[in-house]
Amino acid sequence: MATVKLTNVKKIYDNNVVAVHDFNLDIADKEFIVFVGPSGCGKSTTLRMVAGLEEITAGTIEIDGKVVNDLQPKDRDIAMVFQNYALYPHLTVYENIAFSLRLKHMKEDEIYNRVTSAAETLGITEYLLRKPRALSGGQRQRVAIGRAMVRDSKVFLMDEPLSNLDAKLRNQMRAEIILLRKKINSTFIYVTHDQTEAMTLGDRIVVMKDGYIMQVGTPTEVFEMPANLFVAEFIGAPKMNILDTTLEKRDGKYYVEAYGAELPIDDDKGAALAEKGIETQEIILGVRPEHIQLSHAGDPHSFRCTIRVNEMMGSEYHIHALTESNQEIIVRTPTMDLTREEREQLEHGNEIYVTFKGKVMHFFDKETQKNLLV
Amino acid sequence: MKKKEGLEYLKMGRFARFWYSIWMFICSMPGRIVNLAKKIWTAIKKAGIWIYSEVKDIIMTFVHGDWKTRTSYLIMGFGNIARGQVLRGILFLLFEAAFIFFMIFSGAHWLSLFGTLGKTEQGRHYDEINDVWVTSEGDNSFKILLYGILTLIFCACLIYTWRLNIKQNKIGQQLEADGKKLKSGKDDLRSLVDEQFHKTLLALPLTGILMFTVLPIIFMILVAFTSYDGVNNGFSKLFTWIGLDNFNALLTLADSSGNSISYTFGEVLTWTLIWAFFATFTNYFLGMLVALAINKKGIRLKKLWRGILVLTMAIPQFISLLYISHMFDKNGMVNNVLVNLGWITDRINFWENGMTARILVILINVWVGIPYLMLMITGVLMNIPQDLYESAKIDGANVFQQYQKITLPYVLFVTGPYLLTSFTSNINNFNVIYLLTDSVRANAKLTVNGQAVKDTDLLITWLFNLTTGATADYKLACAIGILIFIVIAIISLIVYNILPSNKNEEDFS
């Protein structure tokens, strides 16, 4: 029910460590924003500044058009879910969820209604009279979400809420958060280091590194048009293959030299490159593992490599191979399309031929590491 | 020995490595001292810069200030009131009024006498009309010293408040210029339970500490430079500043009445340090042994053993100490038993001889201290991750090696700070020494100015005796007090810098 606007927000800790450099972001009403990045990138700090738990060194944060820099957390009308749940150990689940409502001196029957309906939504009704320590991790997480839910606050903050859960439960909770989001009419800011969570949950993703915003965009934008090398490598698993190479322009056509093979770039992409006025130059080439295809010796655009490890993931193989130029590449290929003989070929030490198309390539400037096409 | 590069020193044998580490520590000393000097220098520089910037800020605020701000330089809180912060303004104003009132009616008087601690002696003159001797009121050095300190503290408070008042004016003026709202008195009060909650919490404890610890310590430090004692008690006979004479008496070999204070001081200080060392480490290691024995796998009734020892802590020390002290009397229980058993014929007078008394005191202190240490180290032992032992067992370590390589380093690491505090509190361990050595005879050689000193006396018990009785020698006691502080501070500083567990406080949380 509220917009959030961060303008030139900066955070410097007492020991002169700059956690967040110049953070600018407009969050629309009811949007689900995900801050994602490796640990220490300043994503949690930014969230905590929005919450009012961390002082803002410079810049302004507005919630619903009102500057909240000097407001205490309690006056900002926000709800927050913490990584370690932060449930009050001495209170029952019911009292935990009712805590904020009681502080507001709400009527007890109104509190009862809100708590029980939230508990029902989250499926924790039967635990309402238990203490947190008698609950499992997943149940605790639900209580924490319930505690934030009943508040009907403008902004809903989540600080790595799923990272203390095991993999299976995490997937389940992730789906539930998507459902939950439809029920709660709030603006969401969600912090995570897991790119899968970011991709599946966010309307928009903010990728951060070392206190700087690397890219803001929808999951599709971030995945298909990474603004720079960092975003390209961070989003997507397994990680994108990277190669230092040259982009050549000959007769109005572009070619790239990769792992000993010369690969032509198709016209669409070529046109885009030409539009940017790009000539022959040194670049960093990026190709996602799933875009590399198995090929055969006869293909002129293919190159040869030796398999080091082949990970069987069920529906697909992750093949770690070494090219002739001694560079490691990862190829991700579905198991379904392969015959039994082909599968048996994919063993340690065997040689395979692989190739990729020009339209899946990402080009990054060697100096600035920025995407040439953005 | 040369400094080895990287991991090269790992090639050395065990002893070579040991000597190497000691050698490196010695080598690092000059560097450490230089570092310390640098630190002190930067601290001084910082202080200088701070004073400069404060003064500059005060001047600049005045130069750029509007009339409200400028008036506040004389009338504190004026700016606040003028800008609508009535509560703050009135508090400032009240403080200034109280200060002026106090200075006029008594502060100035105390300050004027502070330099001499009083001029008019108490007089006695004959009142011829009423035919009685009348005592005329003179100055009271004690009160002059005390109220002088209080006045000075009050002055310091005023300067601080005045500076605060100027800062507030600067902020207020700025906010006014920006067209922003200032905090109201209501906001101020509300912030006392939120942003400023620490002030609410700390107000009471800090007032207590200021009144009952800081003030007396300042007083004590100053007394060490005066001639205050039982005779020169301040009202019937004035005392005054005598500079470093007390310390001279303590540290030089100047002799009075055959025995020198410096000799006594040296003896008592040496014994205090020996005592603190043994009292700390015997307790520590024996306590650890008991804890290990009780916690050994396969020992049953752990709770019973532990419980009995813990219960002995419940009984007030003075009872057990006095009782045990008398058990070792010449006619006491121990001698009775020994004689009855026929082991000795002549009763042993344990407390007569300085040496046996000292050993006995340390032994009995072990009796006193072990339960506590057993309990504490049990807690530490339980926290040692079990997989450390499991992997050690796989690596083929036997029980002793496990103790040497895992238990001991871990316990030492965790309880390092405790060892230090325990050492310093043993330096000041009044109860054990005073109550145990009731019947120890004074050592004639150590007696100064008729004040009996025993072989077993620590600095603190000596202090206690110095400050009680008719011949109370406060000035000397205070000088000794300062020396105790210096000794403890130096030891703490050294140990604190060596301790491995001297790490960031936040690491624990």
Binding site: G52, Q72, P73, K74, I78, M80, F82, N84, Y88, F99, S100, R151 | L146, D194, F197, L201, L202, P205, G208, I209, M211, T213, P216, M220, A293, I294, K296, G298, I299, V310, L311, M313, I315, P316, F318, I319, L322, Y323, H326, M333, N336, V337, N340, P371, L375, M376, I377, K393, V414, T415, T424, N428, F430, N431, L459, T467, A477, G481, F508, S509
Partner: protein, 318 residues
């Protein structure tokens, strides 16, 4: 703990088990005997330790019941006689203690001081340690260092000034319990270490969650942290209540030889501080000691759990 670590841990455990099994099979008999021997030695040591620690109290108890008559058939033997078990049991010492000395007064004095300390000291320590542990403010580090340095001065010397002040206010000698309470409690905020260590272990995110939930810092204190602090509160109350029972230094200074102002430690000690006192009142002292020890020991037995927690936790926190 990550799954990896758990895996390695269980693997390690398995290995240990196998290895132990192997070893056990190899030297089954030898190991068993050696363990029996070492455990027996430890049991013997433990029994000796327990005897050494309990014997003085047993003797004290016996002495307090001694009503032996000396050889002349008239005078009571009040000094430790050469037998441990009294020749004649009786409560004479207790009766004398209550009728011929001011012991009841001393006992009441000490109890009152103990109760007042339990309330006031706990409050002070709680306020101080909470602020230092869970709030971040300017000057916090300085304050902690400052108190550390203050603690290095021999606290007793403050009595030179405090005694004068207290006696000016009439809080010494006959009224010394009030003076004592002030001396014990006023600066007790300096003993915040153990309590702060406890507060440090409570996750910080609890405060943050409560503040986001709409609590002021004061409400965080009263509604979240305080209810969680029962163990440390009980520990603090217990130690605060017990300390005055053992203090001799301050109590004797403030009571200044006045009988009605003494606490039990000073009163009982003064009974036997002179040679004639020793001869006449020694068994009285023993009886007094027993009476003092009983209530405190009982209290301690009930609250031992919290005391143990405080000591062990405090050690780890430093």
């Amino acid at each position: 703990m990550s799954i990896e670590q758990m895996k390695t841990k269980s693997r390690v455990k398995k290995l240990v088990r196998e290895k132990q099994k192997e070893r056990r099979q190899k030297q089954h008999i030898g190991l068993k005997t050696s363990r029996i021997v070492s455990n027996t030695i430890i049991y013997i040591i433990l029994v000796v330790i327990m005897v050494v620690w309990l014997v003085p109290f047993f003797f004290l108890l016996m002495d307090s019941f001694k009503c032996d008559i000396a050889a002349d058939g008239e005078t009571r033997v009040t000094w430790q006689s050469d037998t441990i078990i009294p020749k004649k049991f009786g409560f004479d010492n207790y009766v004398d203690l209550f009728t011929k000395t001011k012991f009841p007064r001393w006992f009441i004095n000490t109890t009152l001081v103990g109760l007042a300390c339990a309330v006031l000291q706990t409050t002070m320590i709680l306020l101080m340690s909470y602020a230092l542990s869970r709030l971040r403010f300017k000057g916090r580090k300085f304050l902690m260092n400052f108190m550390l340095i203050l603690g290095m001065f021999p606290g007793f010397l403050s009595m030179i000034l405090l005694y004068k002040l207290l006696s000016d206010w009439g809080l010494t000698q006959d009224n010394s319990i009030f003076g004592l309470i002030l001396v014990y409690c006023a600066s007790s905020g300096m003993g915040y270490y153990i309590s702060k260590g406890f507060f440090d272990t409570i996750p910080r995110s609890l405060d943050e969650a409560a503040r986001v939930d709409g609590a002021t810092r004061a409400q965080v204190f009263s509604k979240v942290i305080l209810p969680l602090s029962k163990p440390i509160l009980i520990y603090t109350v217990l130690t605060a209540f017990m300390a005055p029972w053992g203090d001799f230094m301050f109590a004797s200074y403030i009571a200044h030889t006045r009988d009605v102002g003494k606490n039990v430690a000073v009163g009982l000690r003064d009974l036997i501080s002179t040679a004639s006192g020793m001869a006449d009142h020694y068994t009285w002292f023993c009886a007094g000691g027993v009476i003092v020890a009983i209530p405190i020991t009982l209290l301690f037995m009930f609250l031992q759990k919290y005391y143990v927690e405080g000591v062990t936790g405090g050690a780890v926190k430093g």
